[in-house]
């Protein structure tokens, strides 16, 4: 009798856990299906190819090109990588290899605190603090709003993601590697650069890719600092770096800014924007997963 009860409890717990896991699977599946269903008329009437290759977005005139927004998202992500990755990696190396124990706790918890700050607060900080500073750069057409402001805000926002995962990857490098290197007479720094980082490479790359995914998906802070202009970002003068002072609009921003008034095909096109974003982030995340799996092997 007792045996039977234990067996029943065991089995019901197993099913309970199974269904809990099923729910998140179900939710992802539903969101994907629903977005696709709503976007379908747009794909049918406008065509995926024309959406991806046209840079004119003027719903009132039935022009639904997403190229400008794709470029906006990509440039903001690139900018945030340039600024954020070196910082995050240096932080990860410091936490995993250099920092004394008491300091590790302080630094790690403050990095984790960054992850807890709501996106809208980053946006507000960007608007009030960053924009006036960027506006001082003497380039004609510079309004402060633009990819540079977006990149700086994003760089801070992805810092915790990259730092945490990269630190784990560095910690996972077998002790023997380091010991071997040090025994051969390499210094601590030489060991980090020559042995530890190469051994943790795939994990670090995965960390960066997950950071990119987070950057591409960010919405609220972007709306507040990037200007939401529908233009293909291009340099403001002969210096190619002024591209980062150009205003832009991200894919996420396109949806968030326009959804409240959109009807008919316009609304469908915004759902199609969501599908493009969904696929983009799925590709980014699965390539990160692939790299992590490769590391385990």
């Amino acid at each position: 009798m007792d045996m039977r009860r234990r067996y029943l409890v065991d089995r019901s717990v197993r099913y309970l856990l199974f269904f809990s896991a099923l729910i998140s699977l179900f939710i992802v599946f539903m969101i994907g299906l629903f977005t696709l269903r709503e976007a379908w008329p747009a794909f049918r009437e406008i065509g995926l190819l024309s959406m991806l290759t046209n840079s004119e977005w003027r719903p009132g005139r039935d022009q639904f090109g997403l190229l400008a927004m794709i470029a906006g998202s990509v440039w903001a992500a690139i900018g945030s990588m340039i600024l954020g990755v070196p910082l995050a990696l240096a932080g990860a190396i410091f936490l995993a290899e250099v920092a004394p124990v008491w300091m590790r706790g302080i630094v790690r918890s403050s990095v984790e605190l960054l992850a807890g700050i709501p996106s809208v607060v980053y946006g507000l900080f960007g608007m009030v603090v960053l924009l006036p500073v960027i506006r001082k750069i003497p380039v004609a057409g510079n309004t402060g709003f633009g990819i540079l402001a977006a990149s700086i805000v994003l760089a801070v926002m992805i810092l915790p993601t990259i730092t945490n995962i990269a630190e784990d990857a560095i910690r996972a490098v077998p002790r023997e590697y380091k010991e071997g290197s040090l025994a051969l007479g390499a210094t601590h720094w030489q060991t980090i650069m020559g042995v530890t980082l190469p051994a943790a490479r795939s994990g670090i790359v995965a960390a960066v890719i997950l950071g990119v995914g987070r950057a591409v998906g960010e919405t609220m802070a972007m709306i507040m600092v990037i200007g939401n202009s529908i233009v293909l970002p291009r340099p403001l003068n002969s210096n190619p770096l002024t591209l980062f002072l150009s205003q832009a609009r991200t894919l996420t921003g396109n949806i968030a800014v326009e959804i409240s008034y959109a009807t008919g095909l316009h609304e469908d096109a915004l759902f199609a924007t969501g599908v493009v974003l969904f696929v983009l982030i799925m590709i980014i995340n699965s390539s990160a997963n692939l790299l992590i799996r490769e590391r385990r092997r």
Partner: protein
């Protein structure tokens, strides 16, 4: 097991997808009034609905958004009792739906605002048009200092953008200069203009405050009196539409809105009374 899982997912999602299609509200059910349309009219309509429901607890009024075009269409097709539009009802629309009754319940001015430090107090309508088309790019071209104009606007689909388009740009679906900073609400436009030097934007009269400077258009100050008198050129109507003559609770509510009490509420909310 895997087969079971896939079929559970599929059947459940189909079920939910089927539930997703919008239900059509029953038209004119007597004790319930359904309203849909312009999101600019929505907050005002909600206040008017609350005031009316306070005195008539047996009536339930639900106010939805959707946009002015949706308001016209749903009123004409009878999916709602009252449609709202924050613009003039177009002749084509009246031609297509001859039974539409239009009640102008209020007026709302759109102010052209600039950053408080911009040394320009007035613009001609054509100058505003030039700025938003992109043919005028510096303040010196309109009598101001030698600085580039930062254009701030609303996103496509916005009723305020549409009204600005038809009143200033002579085209509701005008092409705004590509570098314009676009913000998703009246409040966001005001914040952007107030914090960005050399910027210009447009907002509803209801959102005006001292953080931005409203410029005179063709020499007429952006005030409620000038809008009421018809001198200020950028004024749009807030319309409520019914299909055929209103009756019952719908008529009673419209009468209340157009009464002295209703119009006083409208003036209190910062809009211009229609009567």
């Amino acid at each position: 097991m895997r087969y079971v899982l896939v079929s559970i997912l599929l059947s459940a999602s189909m079920l939910l997808a089927a539930c997703g299609s919008p239900a059509t509200p029953a038209p004119g059910a007597g004790s319930e009034i359904t309203v849909a349309g312009s999101t600019s009219v929505q907050p005002l309509a909600e206040v008017l609905a609350e005031a009316y429901m306070g005195a008539h607890p047996e009536i339930r009024i639900t106010v939805q958004g959707g946009g002015s075009s949706v308001g016209v269409k749903s009123a004409a097709e009878g999916t709602v009792d009252i449609g709202t539009a924050s613009r003039t009802v177009k002749d084509e629309e009246l031609g297509e739906f001859p039974d539409l009754q239009v009640f102008t319940i209020a007026r709302d001015g759109i102010a052209i605002v600039v950053h408080p430090d911009v040394a320009v107090d007035g613009l001609a309508k054509d100058q505003v048009k030039g700025i938003y088309e992109g043919s005028i790019t510096t303040w010196s071209e309109v009598g101001g200092p030698d600085a580039a104009i930062v254009v701030v606007g609303r996103e496509e689909g916005s009723g305020t953008r549409g009204a600005f388009g038809s009143l200033i740009m002579d085209d509701e679906e005008f092409a705004m200069v590509g570098t314009a900073i676009l913000q998703p609400s009246n409040g966001a436009v005001r914040t952007t203009v107030s914090t960005t030097p050399d910027s210009i934007g447009f907002i509803s009269f209801g959102y005006l405050d001292e953080s931005v400077k409203a410029v005179a258009i063709d020499g007429v100050e952006a005030t409620a009196e000038n809008a009421l008198g018809g001198e200020y050129p950028v004024v749009r109507p807030f319309n409520m539409l019914t299909n055929g003559e209103p009756a019952g609770a719908v008529k009673d509510w419209l009468d209340f809105i157009l009464s002295e009490d209703g119009q006083a509420i409208i003036a209190d909310e910062g809009y211009i009374a229609a009567q």
